[in-house]
Amino acid sequence: MSQISLPDHADFAEKLWHWTFIGICALVFLFLIAPILVIIPLSFNAEPYFTFNAKMVALDPEAYSVRWYQDFWSKTIWRESIWNSLFIAVGATILATALGTLAALGLSRPEMPFKPLIMGLLISPMIVPLIITAAGIFFFYASINEYLQLTGSYLGVILAHTVLGTPFVVITVTATLSGFDHSLTRAGAMCGADPTTVFFKVTMPLILPGVISGALFAFVTSFDEVVVVLFVASVEQQTIPRQMWAGMRESISPTILAVATILICISILLLATVEILRRRSERLRGLSAG
């Protein structure tokens, strides 16, 4: 029984409060979601303006066009930045997922010493202001450039993005492992499987949803990251966020709205994947019937 529904005997004040509350919530949800949704129709604007004109409101087909999408696709710099973004994000995701999952496995063992301290250190890249991380990594790369050229290289950006992505993997995988029944691995061992087999046949399938969610978080973190790229990358590693950043600092062209719409579609896809995984994971671990 929910507390939200109004009992039949509610008096006027209670009814008034109830509907005011619903109204407030609706406004907050509007505040959350409207800025994202407003961009989508505007990206199909036939005119180079950032607002709805009378024709658009009247749903006149002539007021809409895909010219900004064509513009986006026809520019080499945007096309290249897609590949750069994907390449860097995939590299950082693989590294962050591997390192983060291993660490989460260790952290969720009861024997792990100094757990709060180590956990605190591993999560800190998420907390430390990005500008400090970016500047620190920039100076560090600059100081070792004679031995290993990381400034202005793909590897440099990937390593930096891995640092930023690992906290998310650690958090999601430890969360999945918190409900993990350790007698299952013992059962596997008693049936004669060696630790590696137990890991891949028993543990991995159970924590896989958490690992994939963590990987998606790491992917988004890298795919959306601009500050480190500004400090560490050269023009060769131009990514989508950096290209957007440059466009927004000069003069916004509606092409950015087209890019933004594409990115929104990607986030919807990712969010849907994570939600499905989360429910599957909860079902597998018998936590809820969500």
Partner: protein, 423 residues
């Protein structure tokens, strides 16, 4: 055989099959397990140390590092330390040392840096240093008069005091500058001139803006977290998507949206003109100022408030409220006395997280902040990328980092990082 006879197998010492005392065997097994756990964490820990903690430590060192003068004017410093009492202009010995030092650093191509550094302390020193260095080679002893003839800045006592003061390779000067203080020529800490006092105000403004963002997030987040926690799971899951979608949407996309919505020719102003609240001529400047930064940051950070609130509210049983009401409390009193105290853990977690993330914000203020919406991160970026005053940038960053670490420690203490919720 040997082990069997060596171990006492009396009835009161339990042993394993191979005859070792159970206690020893257990401790050993525990140790192996602990080592295994540590080994799993080690790769990431090393990685974080090498590419995150060490670089930040390196940058923090930059905020106190001051090698330039010590490296380039070693002889001058030695003479000043030895035979100058800080009063009046030093004697011939110091001028001779200065000539040698400047010749050496000119050969090493460092004179420009020395000139810039001294000029930063006393204006006019750039030309004094470069000109003296250029003419030093042709001078003949005694040097004092010739050097004074090249540039009369060397006749000022403060210049020599400054060189002596800049001699230590570790300095607090950057931190002093970061809190609007500086050393005068005689090592006293004094306030910066009025027009250069900007950083304390900026720190205050950053804290103030972060506080407003945090409070706004709490005020907006509390009702919807409550709604989500009270609705049956089927409906709340659907509404939860509305909270999570912004969380997954690119920061740059959301910032772009706010520009589109709030700019003077933007959607919100258009709607207000259309409804008739404002005239077409008096459109409101909603963005490219502090207000725009706060609005955009509130929307961007709101999910970080809603998620911890929701997970705490979910655990509060509705029967508490019913019990309070059946004991005679009015609905509102019951909320205030029973429900609200129970949500404190969530309020604390959400507020701390939002505040921590807000004070280090860079992208949104840089794009929508205009002149007065800039925060401390933006000034750090300015010093790192534009003015190239890395020492000052690192010192500002150091102060910010200490603040964030203290809040993070508090968060860890109160909430625990392992309770961080990501949807």
């Amino acid at each position: 055989m040997a082990s069997e006879t060596a171990t006492p197998t009396t009835a009161d010492v339990l042993t394993t099959v191979d005859g070792r005392p159970l206690k020893v065997a257990l401790a050993e097994a525990q140790r192996t397990r602990r080592i295994r756990a540590v080994l799993l964490v080690t790769p990431l820990l090393l990685f974080i140390f090498a590419t995150f903690l060490f670089p930040i430590a390196l940058m923090m060192f930059r905020s106190v590092d001051n090698p330039l003068i010590a490296q380039n004017l070693p002889k001058t410093i030695a003479v000043l330390e030895k035979s100058w009492n800080g009063k009046g202009v030093p004697g011939e010995e110091a001028f001779a040392a200065l000539r040698e030092d400047l010749m050496a650093s000119r050969a090493a191509g460092q004179v420009g840096k020395v000139a810039t550094r001294l000029n930063f302390e006393t204006s006019g020193m750039r030309s004094a240093v470069t000109r003296t260095a250029r003419k030093a080679r042709k001078m003949k002893a005694p040097y004092k008069d010739q050097i004074l003839k090249v540039h009369d800045a060397w006749s000022k006592r403060e210049v020599w005091a400054t060189i002596k003061r800049l001699a230590p390779t570790i300095t607090a000067a950057n931190y002093l500058a970061a809190v609007d203080r500086k050393y005068d020529a005689d090592d006293n800490i004094v306030s910066q001139p009025e027009e250069r006092q900007i950083y304390v105000t900026l720190f205050m403004k950053t804290l103030w803006m972060s506080t407003i963002v945090t409070v706004s997030c709490l005020l907006l987040g509390f009702p919807i977290a409550y709604l989500l926690a009270s609705l049956p799971l089927r409906h709340s899951n659907l509404l939860m998507i509305l909270v999570l979608l912004p969380f997954w949407t690119s920061l740059l996309v959301r910032t772009t949206s706010w520009i589109v919505l709030l700019q003077t020719q933007g959607v919100l102003n258009d709607i207000m003109v259309w409804i008739g609240i404002i005239d077409d001529e008096n459109r409101i400047q909603l963005i490219f100022n502090a207000q725009g930064t706060v609005i955009a940051m509130t929307q961007i950070l709101l999910p970080f408030m809603v998620l911890p609130l929701y997970s705490v509210m979910k655990t509060i049983s509705p029967s508490y409220l019913r019990a309070a009401q059946s004991l005679g409390a009015h609905r509102f009193l019951a909320y205030y006395r029973i429900y609200l105290p129970n949500t404190m853990a969530g309020i604390g977690a959400g507020c701390l997280l939002v505040f921590i993330l807000a004070i280090g914000y860079y992208i949104t203020p840089a794009l929508v902040g205009g002149q007065d919406g800039q925060m401390i991160s933006n000034v750090i970026a300015f010093h790192m990328q534009k003015s190239l005053n890395w020492g000052l940038g690192a010192a500002l960053g150091g102060i910010l980092l200490v603040g964030v670490c203290m809040l993070y420690w508090l968060y860890n203490k109160l909430v625990g990082v392992d309770n961080l919720k990501l949807g």
